[in-house]
Symmetry: C2
Subunit: 199 residues, 2 copies
Amino acid sequence: MSDAQDHKKKMQQVQAEHRKKVSEKVDPGRGLVLINTGKGKGKSSAAFGVVVRALGWGQTVAVVQFIKGKWKSGERLFFEKHGLVTWHTMGEGFTWDTQDRERDIAAAKAAFGKARELMESGDYDLVVLDEINIALRYEYLSVDEVMDGLKARSDRTSVFLTGRDAPQELRDRADLVTEMTEEKHPFQAGIKAQRGVDF
Amino acid sequence: MSDAQDHKKKMQQVQAEHRKKVSEKVDPGRGLVLINTGKGKGKSSAAFGVVVRALGWGQTVAVVQFIKGKWKSGERLFFEKHGLVTWHTMGEGFTWDTQDRERDIAAAKAAFGKARELMESGDYDLVVLDEINIALRYEYLSVDEVMDGLKARSDRTSVFLTGRDAPQELRDRADLVTEMTEEKHPFQAGIKAQRGVDF
């Protein structure tokens, strides 16, 4: 058998296995719970990539940002300019900038109140809770209240939670957990954060 | 000292350390080489999130897709509709669908020829080479020719390479490498790929 025939046969097998695997999967008939966590870069940007994907299919999307309050970011500029996404930035900035725990807690609670409203409304295919894991890590929100919010959401709504240190209870509840692992980062080489790449 | 004062003091320290760290970083004066690899979900979507970020700052972006030729994807529908990105899908589909190694190699070479043109033109802040690592893994492209292409690119252009199994030589060359690790995937639970989430 020639190399070309060999390749063809192998690919036919792979194709058949792939088709079989796909045919066995079912539609869950409900939105998914998705988590991007870990120390590596790409947690929020992958969620925003999924926002683009959803918008491409004509789906409706809302974003609540829990931490990067005052920061100007490319994603926020883009989605606000094009008016395609319901966008709420309710954190007041990184916690080391506010330096006021009570104010941070109030901001996180208000943000999650808004998030609950969006998740329960039935108006959205996708709600992104950006950096919510950080609010959990600092105990500005409790895991229980976030679990309650997920449970109370509309069946049609997928929820994407981002930020490092996702708590185990949330991971157990999720349909997808990706851990972003940092193998190499420009910061290590003394390169500063780049507009368009990092924010 | 009260809890509030204690928190404030701690956050002031964190803020000072953060500012010091940031102030020591420099602008490289050139585009970066960025890699998302690993088996987990989020490699391409994180690159498309960075596309959004770049567009938000008014930067120019091109995308070359090496593998998902015939597939309709939300990201492609979105960016084509809004006409914001130079988009080339030059693969003819997954390799198990074409079943013709020579045709796959020709498609990969043509795609990389286009990619070189875009990277060298000086017209783009960001060029995404989506799933190029798969073309490398199947040896449709050589690592040397990709390294040459990166070397010949315009100084202003950052390049984002995605796909599992990024070769070591590319990792060594890159400014950023994130490994997406799959902790949990809906597929494992028998859930089929979801429009808006997976494609």
